[in-house]
Amino acid sequence: MTNTESRLTLTITFIVLGILVFITLFPIVLMVLNALKPAVEVVQNPLAFPSEIRWDNFSRAWTDARFAQTLMNSAVLTALTIVLVCTTSSLTAYVLARKKIKSWKVVTFYLLATTTAPIQLFLFPLYFGFAKLGLINNPIAVAFVYTAVYSPFAIMLLRTYFLAVPKELEEAALIDGATHWQVFWRVMLPIVSPGILTVALIIGLYSWNEFLIATTFLQSQDRLTAVVSFFLLSGNYSSDWGQIMAAALIIVLPIVVLFVLLQRRFIEGMAGGSVKG
């Protein structure tokens, strides 16, 4: 775009964009501000700066939401999901991108269809089935559920990375006597590793934040994820909003730091999975 916009247009543009920044940041600022306040001051005025900074909100949040345990549960579940999604999806994405099997179209359509299936369509039989098999409160079982739900997205994203690899590389390796597995493992995977990292980040974000499946399948005290533990703390056990916002910040902060550091990857990956970017 050439710089022909008038000063007035530019002024209006920046005012509107500024208002949208304000709207976006307002609830986030409220969260940070009140996480540092004693409960009394939250009630007096949620917009005011804290008169004294109450770090003990964080320590009380840590104890009451049992974050030592629940953050660990979330981390384990997230890690399991990332490993499962990245291994299974990169295999499938390679085969679909290179049309290695005759049924590649059927498989692709099937996966696309499941991305739009409502969770409720499979949740109830799955829950009662898992209950019968004793898989409720089992993080490995939940990681498999996440894998089923997230892998179509991961496959569609990874597929574009595999498509970008020149075919000649593969052919050259085959002529040199590499087996099909070696072509995939030694030639293709290293080239698409940036794509795998992007998928790992986004799937990690989704599993860390997930609510519906986690709250349904992980209900015992020692299996709760951090998000579900926060949900219970803020709903039942506490009316101290200083403490609740501190708990929120503990869950959000690592994600925001990671996002700010790697924002290009996040944005391109999340946007690229739904639209070709």
Partner: protein
Amino acid sequence: MHRLYVIPTIFINVVIIAIPAILTMILAFYRWDGMSTPVFVGLGNFEALWTDRVFWRALTNNLIWTGLFLTIPIGMGLLAATMMLIARRGSTFFQVIYFLPIIIATAITARVWQGMIYSPITGVLGLLDRYGLELTNPLTQVNTALYGVAVADLWHWWGFLCVIFFAALRQVPQEQVEAARVEGATFFQLMRYVLLPGIMPTISLMMIMTIIWSFLVFDFVFILTQGGPAFSSEVLSTLAYRSAFYDLAVGKAAAVSVIISLFGIVATIFYIRIQAAEIVE
């Protein structure tokens, strides 16, 4: 040989999604409490829903939700995306800020809106109320509960669309933009005749996704109002969830789920056709 590569994905997906989905469709014709033997009731569950006031309320709310999300966030996203194009400077900064809400867990976003904004005791609305601006908590009023929930979800959602639209706008071929410029088009003409048509595929894809997602909405409603007060903010997914796990009416829940899927299916067909056209090339 390469068939082995897709087996893990297909196996996991079929066991977790396809088989339970088929079971749900079968269960919709049974009465089941989750433990005893299911009893076949034919269309009984659907007939019961037909005369159920709460079901119609939930369905209407899903349609209102679809209407809200097809207009407001798409409009806001397009507006901000085009303005970022005009602003040129600072677009990375705006993108990062607008994208922030989508990376925060929905459970946390919901609680921040509930406690820090809507609450009459600890929220900003309560504060303004004490200064004399007659404001009540929208979540506790029958007429406004659904909209109170929708605002929190809109806040969380519109920035994602903005970033997607911005990426699409930047991919409109530069020659077309330059040509329009040479012809002396104003920005609004440029928008109307070059940029918007250029990103129309992205806009329609996002509208199709919005329709699908609007029938799946769960987290915000479940956390903020549980469908209340007096079922005024009930949507189909919360109705199904409560029927299955609180009322132990799994057959009814399955019937509601099948109806949710029927609404999504038309949009899903369009979605697959668009995506497939791109994949088959």
